[in-house]
């Protein structure tokens, strides 16, 4: 995709898997650890530029130049350290995007207060999943496939290029079925950055710079992405 630079704090039970997944997707990840054991593990796993620093020191954090990275991910195993780190980063750099993982209800709130842009609560997402399994077993199973599987059906976001044949047409009138994909929703540039689901029931006009999100077979999605670049006839 595009080469994003991610600063990952923590190479513990979560960091390890996240780093691996991101690396597989071709993103450049820089691992920072304060524990020597995890640091060596990161080195062994091939993250050569991993750093071993004391994350409570502002000077050392500053030396990392976090504002050069697109996203900062805080997934330290120690929840206290994670909160402190988030707070330090936020106080040093008000602009950067911080994503943090919380493994308890109490930590989630603290991380949010510390200034994390997005907090993913381990228990919240899991508890959600239980509800989903109980109430909508089939839907959950299929959705999971969508999200996790590399091939087969998945989601894709597409930027509408200049003079695409879709420009100027309403979402309701476009027939997507010949392409084998479904339109899930879009981001209308005129309306800000909010994601609008197609099912919200509002008809949108597609313009240049809008982003549409489609579901479909990977191949079909790729074909469709090429298709929308075609000029209007």
């Amino acid at each position: 995709m595009f080469s994003k630079k991610i600063l990952l704090f923590g190479y513990g039970k979560h960091g390890k898997f996240i780093a691996k997944g991101l690396h597989e997707d071709g993103l450049s990840v820089k691992v920072i650890e304060s524990s020597l054991d995890f640091y060596t593990a990161a080195k062994e796993d091939g993250f050569e530029d991993a750093l071993h620093i004391d994350v409570t020191e502002d000077e050392e954090l500053r030396a990392l130049n976090p504002d050069k990275y697109e996203q900062i991910v805080c997934v330290m195993d120690d929840a206290h350290l994670n909160v402190f780190l988030t707070l330090s980063l936020r106080s040093l750099y008000t602009e950067c995007y911080i994503l943090a993982l919380s493994d308890s209800i109490h930590t989630t709130k603290k991380l949010q207060m510390a200034g994390a842009n997005k907090v993913i609560d381990l228990y919240e997402v899991s508890a959600n999943k239980i509800h989903n399994i109980l109430n909508r077993p089939v839907a959950t199973k299929i959705l999971e496939k969508f999200v996790t599987e590399k091939d087969g059906i998945s989601f894709q976001e597409m930027l509408i290029p200049e003079d695409s044949f879709l420009i100027g047409r309403m979402t309701d009138e476009i027939d997507f079925s010949p392409f084998g994909v479904l339109l899930l929703g879009m981001i209308d540039k005129e309306l800000g950055h909010a994601f609008i689901f197609i099912t919200a029931g509002i008809n949108h006009k597609i313009d240049t710079g809008d982003t549409i999100v489609c579901i479909g077979d990977k191949e079909k999605l790729k074909a469709f992405e090429k298709e929308i670049k075609k000029r209007r006839v």
């Binding site: 898997f17 993103l27 209800i105 989903n132 109980l134 959705l143 994909v181």
Partner: protein, 511 residues
């Protein structure tokens, strides 16, 4: 004769129909979890109450002949049938005969009908001697009219109610736990009453005009020691009054002692009684959740519930956690879910149980899951595993869904980083946010959908996004508009909650 009985037993034993009928009757009469049992219970209770009412009414007023007939024939007839059925299902007489016949053939000895018959009948007789069975037979007796005294046996019908009231059964159970203390007290009471009664008789028989026999003296002693003190007999001599003082003092001591014994018996059993009540209540539901372990996960699970759940129960073997759950307002009991008898208490036969193993510990979770599966495969188990390496073990244990909190969270973070726009969308879908719920429609509950093609359903008009059909385990994504819907399909649609609800109501009726 022997041959006829044997072939009859063979016939009964071989008949599936006979077996299933017998099992059905046994279940409906004796299994409190049977959903139909309550109808039988209500009928019997109604019969008891009406017949007792007739007895009371009859004392002062003449009753209509019909009521009398109803009381004599109908009620007694129903009770007699119930009694015979209970006797019938108590054991398996034909089974005994077959067993003996097979044994005899195997050992090549003479087959004697008498041995199994004796054994089977002895078992039946033993059943007849149990208090419940005795009450049952006494409750049939009032049908015999020539003896007026038998009318009082109607009261045994009231005792029959004992079978249907759990609280009295529990009361007796609690008291039987304190058998030793209560028996000691009873013996002491007997001893004091006898000694003081005899003393009174010897001292005052000639002087006191009210004491004419030893029975009077003992009656006086009992009335005094129980602190009832009618006053119809009272001591007249100084010696007699001294005895009275002693009895009164010991009486007070004894009453307070017996009260404390009973109270302590109850307070010891109170939590257990409460828990049993909770289990009974939950067992009445057609389907319910068993949540094992009250930790962070369980808390979050409850917190996310938009709708109040009624059919759940929390089990935890840590007393403090149970207390915490109760304090948080949830229905929790202090039980160890890894024990066989704990799960046995639940209505496994007739209810749909889903079990959530949410303990922090893999060993514990697997054990609980295996325990549930060993009791019945009908129990659906969703278990939490600590790592993906553990997941295969859970699957091996037969767990229906393995939940990996770490993996779920890691995927979320991953998508949040790589696909930020879509992450929002996926998150909204996965968390089932109001605006974009993905829901499944089981076609068999909406029979009007069968046979229609997708174009005819016009999902777009209902503001729904039709995603595909799950048919026989296969998911067909975005099928062509001419695809017809079959009866076992599950349709996957996305949309706002109100659109989904509206679509469902639209297709519910026979349009």
């Amino acid at each position: 004769m022997k041959q006829i009985l044997l072939s009859f037993a063979l016939f009964l034993n071989g008949s599936k129909r006979y077996r299933s009928i017998k099992d059905f009757i046994r279940d409906i009469l004796t299994n409190p979890d049977n959903p139909h049992k309550k109808y039988i219970d209500i009928t019997i209770i109604f019969l008891i109450i009406t017949s007792v009412f007739i007895l009371i009414y009859e004392v002062k007023n003449p009753v209509h002949e019909y009521f009398d007939l109803y009381d004599i024939y109908f009620v007694s007839f129903v009770f007699a049938i119930e009694y015979l059925l209970r006797l019938w299902v108590h054991n398996d007489l034909s089974g005994h005969i077959i067993q003996e016949y097979n044994d005899a053939r195997y050992l090549q000895r003479d087959f004697s009908l008498w041995t199994p018959l004796k054994k089977g009948l002895a078992e039946k007789f033993q059943y007849m001697l149990t208090p419940a069975a005795l009450i049952d037979i006494l409750a049939i007796l009032p049908a015999y009219r020539p003896l007026r005294i038998l009318r009082i046996f109607v009261l045994f019908r009231v005792l029959k109610l004992l079978r249907y009231t759990k609280s009295i059964k529990q009361f007796m159970e609690v008291l039987s736990n304190k058998k030793f203390e209560l028996l000691t007290l009873l013996f002491l009471l007997f001893f004091i009453v006898m000694v003081s009664g005899i003393a009174m008789y010897v001292l005052e028989e000639r002087i006191n005009p009210h004491i004419e026999s030893l029975f009077d003296a003992i009656y006086w002693a009992l009335v005094t020691i129980s602190t009832v003190g009618y006053g119809d007999i009272s001591p007249v001599t100084g010696e007699g009054r001294t005895i009275s003082i002693l009895i009164i003092i010991s009486g007070i001591a004894m009453i307070s002692f017996s009260t404390s014994v009973i109270v302590s018996a109850f307070s010891e059993k109170l939590s257990e009684l409460k828990e049993n009540r909770i289990i009974e209540q939950i067992n009445k539901n057609k389907s319910f959740l068993l949540i094992c372990g009250y930790g962070q996960m369980a808390k979050m699970f409850f917190r996310q519930n938009e709708i109040e759940m009624s059919n759940y129960i929390i089990l935890d073997n840590n007393f403090e956690k149970v207390q915490l759950a109760i304090k948080d307002g949830y229905r929790a009991i202090h039980e160890d879910a890894s024990r066989h008898d704990t799960l046995q208490k639940f209505n496994i036969e007739h209810a749909k149980i889903t079990m959530l193993c949410l303990a922090d510990n893999d060993v514990e979770n697997i054990y609980i899951a295996l325990n549930a599966k060993s009791i019945s495969h009908k129990i659906k188990v969703i278990a939490r595993a600590s790592s993906s390496a553990m997941a295969s073990k859970y699957e091996y244990a037969g767990v229906d869904h393995v939940l990996l909190p770490n993996v779920v969270a890691n995927t979320m973070i991953h998508t949040a980083i790589t696909q930020p726009t879509m992450h929002k969308a996926i998150h909204a879908i996965l968390t089932g946010k109001n605006i974009a719920r993905i829901d499944e429609l089981h076609v068999n509950t909406y029979p009007t959908l069968i046979g229609k093609n997708i174009e005819a359903l016009n999902f777009k008009k209902s503001k729904l996004l039709f995603m595909g059909i799950e048919r026989e385990g296969e998911f067909m994504f975005n099928p062509s508009l001419s695809t017809c819907i079959e009866s076992h399909d599950i349709l996957l649609v996305m949309g706002r909650q109100i659109s989904l609800d509206y679509f469902k109501t639209l297709h519910e009726g026979n349009v």
